[in-house]
Amino acid sequence: MPRINSAAELETLRKDILSRRDPGKPAIAICAGTGCLGLGNDKVISAFQEEIKKRSLEAQIEIRATGCHGFCEKGPNVILYPEEICYLQVTPEDVPEIVSETLLGKKVIDRLIYTDPMTGEKAAHQSEIPFYRNQMRNLISNNTRIDPSSIEDYLAGGGYSALSKALFEMGPKQVLEEIKKANLRGRGGGGFPAGLKWETARNAPGEEKYVIVNAHEGEPGAFMDRALFTGNPHCVLEGLIIGAHAIGSHQGFIYTRHDTPQLKANIDTALAKTREYGFLGKNILGSGFDFDVEVHFDVGIFVSGESSALMRSIEGKNPEPRPKYIRTSVSGIWDKPSNLNNVETWANVPQIISKGAAWYTGIGTERSKGTKLLSLSGNICHTGVVEVPFGTTLREIVYGIGGGIPNGKKLKAVHFGGPMGGSVPESLLDTPLDFDAMSKLGAPIGAGGMLVLDEDTNMVELTRFYLDFLTNESCGKCVPCREGIRQMLKILTKMCEGKGKEGDIELLEEIAEVAGAASLCSLGKTASDPLKGTLRYFREEYEASIKGK
């Protein structure tokens, strides 16, 4: 494929791709996300390939190994197009029957479709399954329609038209204004307005500027960013290129994990394709704008996802955070202005540019716009990757989408934000998903890890677990974080063993206060947040572990 040199050439190519495609053609979309692969979906993929070959149907039926579909609980997932029939928990043995009965015979196989555990009601199509039906899948829905290695799949769905619009119709200032108007807030945890950050980087002195995708996603219980990035890498890249153009950056970095080889492979393929087609490199789409991207691996600890530590790591140094008295958007990598956003934030950009800020701000609450990806896990019937508009209540997520609590148990709390987050008790379940409302409750959304806890959960043990994680995943540079966590963990461990003593709670609070106030980076500052949150709502559990159960 020769390079594309103008907006017109891009549209000609898109028409050409679409003209070669028949929307009515049967296609098998098999989830090759981490969860489904772990359940043996690679065998299902090869079984389909063999069966189609055996019946010489290669020309009539398309097989797509896709990114995560979302419904991890019921994997391996398979969706059959054009009808969008959703088969769950598919095994290689089911494959010949699916081909003969459904693909050729157009009959639905009853045992493979969704059955509501409460009502016994069946749902054959993706759009009818409550897990999917109650979501708003603006970002993640393309995962089932796209082969992550195919740039043509992305282009067929309108891909890179937002970039073309930003380059030729809007220009940097207008793009920046649009992002600000959309009130896109950072999805990595802070909820800081992305438009303001971009503007700071754009206005910062210096020619050399960097843009970065934070694809580290190191917290336990968070898996939405890798689902999105692995399944639809071009969407994130398109957002990044648009951002780079708006900020005036010619060099981007993707910071990702050394232990997610599939993500790295998909990013590498996507980068090679974007260079070949002229979406990256010199003179992008003939616009005169130059930009390229490098991929960096982490060094295997949680703190390397902290923005200043991440930048040190890209410089080739130890991932130790440094104080952000001067913002990284002014002085970041090699002291140059460096704009960092996480995967989901960048992925929101193309749709804002394509559909406009007015459309975008129609979704969500007053101060939290758009949708949010969540990793729903814990004591919940439907574990998976979920996307809902801001404003959705936690109750709707847990019961409407998550299917409630398994084994007839009662819900106790919902924990957001992993080891630096907080828990919301059952009594506050009607709280809407909103950056500010959740922060007020001491349970900021964080990156979107949503852990559901049933009545059997010991909240002291939960807190101990998170501090145990952090004690090994912090850098160890500053005293309040390193030593504070060490001592809090010791006290909590004793409490969990039933050896708590009078004064322990007060001592925990005192250490938490100092670690929160005096630590160097946000890891240390928020490491005691689960402790503070559980003390706020579940203090009696701490007291019980002192008096002896």
Binding site: I301, V303, N318, R322, P323, Y325, I326, L470, T471, N472, E473, S474, C475, G476, K477, C478, V479, P480, R482, E483, G484, I485, R486, Q487, L489, K490, E510, I511, E513, V514, A517, A518, S519, L520
Partner: protein, 211 residues
Amino acid sequence: MSEILLQIDGKAVKAKQGMTVLDAARSADIAIPTLCHHEQLEPYGGCRLCTVEIETRGRKRLVAGCLYPVEPDLIVRTRTEKIDSIRKMILELLLAHAPDSPQLQDLAREYRADRDRFEKEASFCVLCGLCIRYCAEIKKKYAVGFINNGARREINFIPEIAAGECWNCKECFPLCPTSYLQAAYHLTEALAFPSLSSRSASKRLVTTTTL
């Protein structure tokens, strides 16, 4: 270099662009305690004892004095109830590791820190990094470094470099606020560079032991 006027503990202080709050305070004879700071080395911000309160445009926050750059009209408070309680806790956390360090004991008296607040876990090292940074920044030898992270972090001499460099230097020794460094060095020395007569026996030790 333009002159910057700020206020520390109610006193007007003149500072130069590029100075930190700690620099400015010390130039005006206002004491801020530090443990990991050394004038010849890059500011580190590890011990957090130099935590001070700053006020800009009516907003108060806590920052590390050794890192925060001076700015015009900055108001700095070096002793408040909150700051004292932070320093007290930091000292108590460190005294669990190095209870006999004279420097820590002096500060403990000033901030009423309880040497026995936390269970002793004597590692003697408080991980201030002075030896490591001195060796890297001034001597450019990198004979000592940090290994591991989080609560498992420790300092370690690299025998191959230490064998050639440390004998005639030892300039990091007096920097150590505890006496751990010397102990660690001598232990490394004992393991890595034994007398010729016992070389074969200790070779096994070198390959199986880490400090």
